[in-house]
C-alpha cells in the first residue's frame, strides 16, 4: 500500500484545496492515473496514483490540505481495511487511558498532540495547554478554531485588553444602559457585516417620474375597487425586472471560492421594509410573472404580516435583487444603501419631489425620482451600472410601458 500525500508541487506551496475527486472511494486505479484535482494558489493540478490498486479517499472535496497531509491511500482491499482500524485506534486508546497519575497522562497526551506551529504559537499566546484541547481536525489534529473555542470557554486564562464598552461604563457609571439586541437586530448586524466584505461602488441618477406619477394617480381608484392600494413600487419593480433581464449580471451571486458568477434565471425582488423590531426584507417571488395589481397585493399582504408579526421566514428568503424604498420613509434626497448578500446589487428609490426639469431649453416643474444603485464591483463595473440604471430609467419614463402595466 502507498500513501499519496500532498507535497509542495509548485515551489513554495504550503496548502491546497481538494477541488474534485476524479475517482470514487474504492475504485481500482492504475499507476500514474490522475485521481484527484488540487487547487493551489498557483495552479490546478492533477495528482496521480503512485501504484496500481484500490483507492481510499483521505481528504474530502473542498477541504484544505497542508503539505504533508494524506490525500489518499492506494493498495489492496486488505491493506485499505487496516487503515480504518489504525485511524480509529488512537481515539479508542485515548478514551480508555486511566488518569491515575496526572503527570504521566499529560506527557503521554503531549506526545499525541498534532498541531501546526501556528496553532502551537496561538496556544502559547493564549496560555493554553494544547494537551487539554480536543482536536477536531483529521486524525485528531488541533485546529486554530479548537484553540479559540477552548479559550472562549476559559476567559480567565486569556490576557484581555479592556474594551471601549468597559471603559465607557467605567467613566459614565450610571449614565449608560445596556440593551440586548433582538434576534432580528442580530441578524441585521450579521448581514451588514457580511455586506461590508463586498467591494462596492454606487451609481446615482434622476428619473423624470411625471408619467409614472400620472399613471399611479389615474389607476389608484380602479385599484381601490379591487381592494388594492396602488403605489409607485409595483411599477418600479416591473421596470427593475426588465432591466435585470437585459443585464443578467445584476441578478446573480458571486462565488468567491470558485471564482464564478452564479446567474439567476428567476426574479425574486426583495423589498426592504421597516418592521417593529428592525429592518426586514420581504420578497416578491417570481416578479417577472406577476402583474402590477398582483404585485401591489403581495406588497400589501407582506407589509400587513410584518406589522402584525406573522411574517414567515419563507416570505423573507431567496431574493435575487433588493429594492429599498427610502421615499416611503418620508424624507431624504439620495442614499447609499448596503447590498443584501449574496446579491450583487441594491437599488435605492427616493422621495418623488416637484423639481425643475429642463426640457428643450424650457424649465418646467416635473416629478423627479432620485435613484441610487450600489453594486458589487467584483462582478460588474461602473459602465454596466450606468447601462442598468439607464434601462430602469428608460422603462420608468416610457408612457407606453407604463400604460401596458397599468
Amino acid at each position: 500500500m502507498k500513501t499519496l500525500k500532498f507535497v509542495d508541487i509548485g515551489e513554495g506551496i504550503t496548502e491546497g484545496r481538494v477541488q474534485k475527486w476524479l475517482v470514487k472511494d474504492g475504485d481500482a486505479v492504475k499507476e500514474d492515473q490522475p485521481i484527484v484535482q488540487i487547487e493551489t494558489d498557483k495552479a490546478v493540478v492533477n495528482l496521480p496514483s503512485p501504484i496500481n490498486g484500490k483507492v481510499r479517499i483521505g481528504a474530502k472535496e473542498n477541504t484544505t490540505v497542508k503539505v504533508g497531509d494524506v490525500i489518499a491511500y492506494v493498495g489492496e482491499d486488505s491493506e485499505l481495511s487496516s487503515i480504518k482500524e489504525e485511524a480509529a485506534a488512537p481515539q479508542a486508546v485515548q478514551q480508555k487511558q486511566p488518569v491515575k497519575e496526572e503527570k504521566v497522562a499529560e506527557t503521554q497526551a503531549q506526545r499525541e498532540i498534532v498541531a501546526t506551529p501556528a496553532v502551537r504559537h496561538l496556544a502559547r499566546q493564549l496560555g493554553i495547554d494544547l494537551s487539554k484541547v480536543t482536536g477536531t481536525g483529521p486524525e485528531g489534529r488541533v485546529l486554530e478554531n479548537d484553540v479559540k473555542s477552548f479559550a472562549g470557554g476559559q476567559p480567565q486564562g486569556v490576557k484581555q485588553v479592556p474594551k471601549f464598552s468597559e471603559l465607557l461604563e467605567e467613566s459614565h457609571e450610571g449614565e449608560v444602559e445596556r440593551v440586548p439586541l433582538s434576534q432580528t437586530r442580530k441578524a441585521i448586524a450579521r448581514n451588514m457585516e457580511a455586506s461590508l466584505a463586498i467591494p462596492s461602488a454606487a451609481h446615482m441618477d434622476l428619473v423624470d417620474a411625471t408619467h409614472l406619477y400620472d399613471i399611479v394617480k389615474k389607476e389608484k381608484a380602479n385599484a381601490e375597487k379591487l381592494g388594492v392600494k396602488l403605489t409607485f413600487l409595483p411599477f418600479i419593480i416591473k421596470a427593475v425586472v426588465e432591466a435585470l433581464k437585459e443585464n443578467p449580471r445584476f441578478n446573480s451571486s458571486y462565488d468567491h471560492d470558485r471564482q464564478e458568477v452564479i446567474l439567476k434565471k428567476y426574479y425574486n425582488i426583495g423589498l426592504a421594509a421597516e418592521a417593529p423590531d428592525g429592518l426586514k426584507v420581504v420578497v416578491i417571488k417570481g416578479a417577472d410573472r406577476k402583474g402590477i395589481i398582483e404585485i401591489a397585493k403581495d406588497i400589501q399582504t407582506l407589509h400587513e404580516r410584518i406589522k402584525d408579526q406573522t411574517i414567515t421566514l419563507e416570505e423573507m428568503r431567496d431574493s435575487t435583487f433588493t429594492i429599498t424604498n427610502i421615499g416611503s420613509l418620508g424624507g431624504g434626497f439620495l442614499s447609499v444603501p448596503i447590498i443584501n448578500p449574496p446579491e450583487v446589487a441594491i437599488l435605492g428609490v427616493h422621495l418623488i419631489r416637484d423639481m425643475p426639469i429642463v426640457d428643450e431649453g424650457q424649465v418646467k416643474v416635473g416629478k423627479v425620482l432620485p435613484i441610487s444603485l450600489v453594486f458589487d464591483h467584483r462582478v460588474v463595473d461602473g459602465a454596466e451600472a450606468v447601462t442598468f440604471g439607464n434601462a430602469v430609467i428608460k422603462y420608468l419614463e416610457d408612457p407606453e410601458f407604463l400604460e401596458i402595466l397599468g
Binding site: 507535497v7 508541487i9 509548485g10 515551489e11 495552479a43 495528482l47 496521480p48
Partner: protein, 357 residues
C-alpha cells in the same frame, strides 16, 4: 552614392508535413527509414519519460520539473545529428537530448529530486542550466576551446525563445561570430517564455535573423518535423569548422513551463488544440505506418518495454543513497584545499548524522 550595405534572408525548412508526406528534394542523403524509425522510438521514449517524471513530481518524488511535451522532434532531431565527440549544452528542458546521449535515466530522476551528482563523462554534455541564457557564453568558450586545442568537436547549445532576448545571447553570438567558433545554436522556440508569448518576446519576424547582427548564418525550421531539424543541425555541424550557425526550431510547449506553472491561466485552449494537431510524433508514425515499418502492435510492445526501463530506473533512483561529501567534491573537477578543509571539518564534527557512508 547609395548602395545596399547588407542583404540577408532566412529560409524556412519543412521536410515532412503534418500528414507524414516527405519533400524528396529536401530529404537528407545520409538519412534512411531505419534511422527515422530509430528517431521515432527515441521520441516515444522521451514522451513516456516526460509523463513519468511529471507524475513523480506530483507525488512528491521529484522536486520540480520542466516538461518537454510537444518539443520531441526539436530535441531528438538535433541530438541525432550530433557526433559522439560533439558537446551539447542544454538549458533545462533537453531531457530528450540527454536520453539520446545515453544519460542513465536514474540520473535524471535523481537530478529532479535535487541530487546534482556528477554527470557521466561519456554523455559529453553540460549539466542542466536553469538561469536563462547563461549557458550561451559558456558554450562559446567551450567551442573556442575546441579550435584552440585543435579538436574535431562542435558545441551544440540550446536556448529558448525567451533566452534570445537576454544580453548573454547577443554577447555570445557576437563572440562566436568574431571568433568563428564551431558552434550550433539551437533556438528551441516553443512560443512561450513562461507566460510571455512569442509575439511579445521580440518584434523580429524570425529569431534566426538575430544571427545576422553577429555576422552568422541562420535558418528557421519546422521544429515539429524531426527530419527538418535533423537536416538543419547536420548541415550546421558539417560546416561548423567555417563558423557558427543559428537554427531556430519553431515548435510548441504543449505542457506547463514547469510544474509550478498553470498555462490555462494565460493561454487559450484553442491555441493548444491547433498545435496538438501538429504533433511531432503523429506525422512520423503516419510516415512509418505507410511504409509498412510500424503498426500499433509494435508501438504497444515498444511502449511496454520503455515503461519497464523507466520503472526500473525509478526503482534504482529510489534506492540511491546520497553521499553528503558530494557537496564538497562535486563543485570543481578537483577538490581545492579550501573545500577539502571544510569537508574534513564537517566529517570531524559529524556534520551529517544520517546517510553518510
Amino acid at each position: 552614392m547609395e548602395q545596399r550595405a547588407f542583404e540577408g534572408e532566412i529560409e524556412y525548412i519543412q521536410v515532412m508535413d503534418e500528414t507524414g508526406n516527405v519533400d524528396q528534394s529536401l530529404f537528407p542523403k545520409d538519412l534512411d527509414d531505419q534511422k527515422i524509425l530509430e528517431m521515432y522510438k527515441y521520441m516515444l521514449f522521451a514522451r513516456a519519460n516526460d509523463a513519468k517524471t511529471l507524475s513523480l513530481q506530483r507525488q512528491g518524488r521529484a522536486v520540480t520539473y520542466a516538461p518537454l511535451l510537444g518539443e520531441e522532434a526539436t530535441q531528438i532531431g538535433s541530438a541525432y545529428a550530433m557526433r559522439k565527440q560533439d558537446i551539447f549544452v542544454p538549458n533545462f528542458r533537453q531531457h530528450g537530448v540527454f536520453l539520446m546521449r545515453g544519460l542513465p535515466l536514474e540520473w535524471m530522476y535523481l537530478y529532479w529530486r535535487g541530487y546534482e551528482e556528477q554527470l557521466p563523462k561519456d554523455v559529453n554534455g553540460e549539466a542542466i542550466i536553469v538561469p536563462v541564457a547563461t549557458q550561451m557564453p559558456h558554450a562559446v568558450g567551450m567551442a573556442y576551446a575546441q579550435t584552440y586545442k585543435k579538436k574535431d568537436a562542435v558545441v551544440i547549445v540550446y536556448v529558448g525563445d525567451g533566452g534570445t532576448s537576454e544580453g548573454d545571447f547577443y554577447e555570445a553570438l557576437n563572440f562566436a561570430g568574431v571568433w568563428k567558433v564551431p558552434l550550433v545554436v539551437i533556438i528551441e522556440n516553443n512560443q512561450w517564455a513562461i507566460s510571455l508569448p512569442r509575439g511579445k518576446q521580440s518584434a523580429a519576424k524570425t529569431l534566426a535573423q538575430k544571427a545576422f547582427a553577429a555576422g552568422i548564418g541562420g535558418v528557421q525550421v519546422d521544429g515539429n518535423d524531426v527530419i527538418a531539424v535533423y537536416k538543419a543541425t547536420k548541415d550546421a555541424i558539417d560546416k561548423a569548422k567555417t563558423g557558427p550557425t543559428v537554427v531556430e526550431c519553431v515548435t510548441y510547449r504543449l505542457g506547463m513551463h514547469t510544474t509550478a506553472d498553470d498555462p490555462t491561466k494565460y493561454r487559450p485552449d484553442a491555441e493548444v488544440e491547433i498545435w496538438e494537431r501538429r504533433d511531432p510524433l503523429a506525422r512520423v508514425k503516419a510516415y512509418l505506418v505507410r511504409k509498412g515499418l510500424w503498426n500499433d502492435q509494435m508501438e504497444k510492445e515498444t511502449s511496454e518495454q520503455q515503461s519497464k526501463e523507466i520503472d526500473d530506473a525509478v526503482e534504482r533512483a529510489e534506492q540511491f543513497k546520497e553521499d553528503p561529501r558530494s557537496i564538497f567534491t562535486n563543485v570543481y573537477s578537483f577538490v581545492p584545499q579550501t573545500l577539502q578543509d571544510e569537508l574534513d571539518d564537517a566529517e570531524k564534527n559529524n556534520f551529517w548524522q544520517e546517510g553518510g557512508k
